[in-house]
Symmetry: C2
Subunit: 318 residues, 2 copies
Amino acid sequence: MARNGGQIADTRDLAARAAWLSLVGGLTQDQIAFELGISRQRAQRLVARAYAEKLVRVRIDHPIAECLEREQALKAEYGLESAWVSPSLGPSVDVLTGLAPFAASILEQVFRNGQGQVFALGTGRTLQQVVESISTMDGARHRLVSLIGNVAPDGSASLYEVIVRLAEKLAAPHFPLSIPLISPSLEVSGLYRSLPHVRKARQLAESADLAIVGIGQMTKDAPLFVDGFITEEERQDLVAAGAIGELSGHTFNAKGEFVDHPMNQRIVGVRVPVNDVPVLCIGAGKAKVAPLRAALSGGLIHQLITDEDTARRLLGSG
Amino acid sequence: MARNGGQIADTRDLAARAAWLSLVGGLTQDQIAFELGISRQRAQRLVARAYAEKLVRVRIDHPIAECLEREQALKAEYGLESAWVSPSLGPSVDVLTGLAPFAASILEQVFRNGQGQVFALGTGRTLQQVVESISTMDGARHRLVSLIGNVAPDGSASLYEVIVRLAEKLAAPHFPLSIPLISPSLEVSGLYRSLPHVRKARQLAESADLAIVGIGQMTKDAPLFVDGFITEEERQDLVAAGAIGELSGHTFNAKGEFVDHPMNQRIVGVRVPVNDVPVLCIGAGKAKVAPLRAALSGGLIHQLITDEDTARRLLGSG
DNA sequence: CTAAGCGCCGATCATTTGCTCATGTGACGA
DNA sequence: TCGTCACATGAGCAAATGATCGGCGCTTAG
């Protein structure tokens, strides 16, 4: 007999159940189909869906020696507080496929251990993916604050609503900055900064317990340009001024010094590092090597999550 | 080219890496083989080994409605503090296959949250498997104490060294009871109880923050009998006296009252429940239904981890 | 009421995976 | 030195899996 006792309402339930049978029970899809009283194809699709919807969390419970070595080397070479290196997945796969769940589990630890802290968040595709990989958990004792505006020049909210998604996952109070990332002029920038809620958010961010940011390159595929925050001319202008990378929009040169360019004054968000807030940067990939090296050299970041490949390059001709 | 940069020392490292590529990266075994510069078969074996050695932890991140309902029902019907119900895996699979990792993740939570507590532990195949499924984590602030002796009548230590394994995983100080589970006579039992380290362990156990136990049936396949702690005659004698189940060797009847039998006095360990120590019982399977129902009715246990099937039976003709 | 659109379903088939067996290799003891 | 034993390796094959395709029913717009 099929063991399906009564109809199961939700298909997500069914997917979770199929995944449980498959992964924990080690049943074949035929057996799962029989247990649940469905066809094999349906069982297959349910398991696939469980993966797609990230109902299934996998974790490898063994530190790989080579990665540990690179963590030590990174800490030593750049004077980092902490470094985490995930195994690389090879060139055929997007770096974030591996980095995101890896970083997510580290952040989960951070959120779990902290006793009511303030986390200041950047944005970007990397952070977006990382946050997506974080499990829902109780983090209501923490507070989340944006480091940076999220409104694009066209007035739309940015694609990467990192802080909101994370706040959902943690059920934590959050303080987003619904203002432009880059304001049209210095005066407008000052105006924004004088708004009460902006001032409050900035104060909170400036006294956070940890800032969590991605990092951007300034080459042709610069996130700032691709997402429309700056024009190609502006990008070239910044590069001409020495810009090699950016943290939350603030561009810096190869020595890790923020470039002296009006663009950097027009950013409404908080520039890190600020005060004594430690900066945790998540980033990997060939394009991020140069910006990371610069930021590391300049002491702009204090903790790093990256992958093996990137770590190798950072250590290579250092 | 194969991307294997230099020989990787340990095969466990390699296994973890292969599992990472397979699960996180979604690579096929052929691709993994290529990445690591090994044959497809070797890649396959590495992934399999990673599973076998429990390097891979999977978790289903979705509460299944039906299980939640049964948890509520169990709490209501038996006045439990907490109940957790894992999805069943069907009759073809050992119940512990599903129950052990499920219970393990709950216990991990308990150990993670507690701020330096004392946990009193029973033994048995169930707890053994559960502990085996727990990840290594920092639990050095906790203390672990045995509820029960672990020496079999033939003088060998029991197969199920639950407390030692758990202490390894948590790096926690532990107080095992290296004494017989059941002593030959009342006098000897008293003698054992008077030993200083036994007294200390018993005191610790009696003031623990949580007792974690399995449950045994008294039918022909009774763990106590199968593992050689009692003879078949003794078992029958206990059954004749009404025994239907046991917690850490202490037998009780269908009402959940400890039976009045000399055997129960000869046990050197601590009988739970004791003082106000809450008792968390882990058990599932057809054979455990009757003992569980009795223990629940008699208020011997206050928290329960079981599976859907068992929950259904416990609620069925209650 | 009809018909187009959409999504779910099952069948079929190529790919991937895991098992078995035969062979190779290195360690240990006679 | 040789035998043998345990264990790792690779080849081949059967089973399991996942993708594609046509069909069916439901919804919705005309």
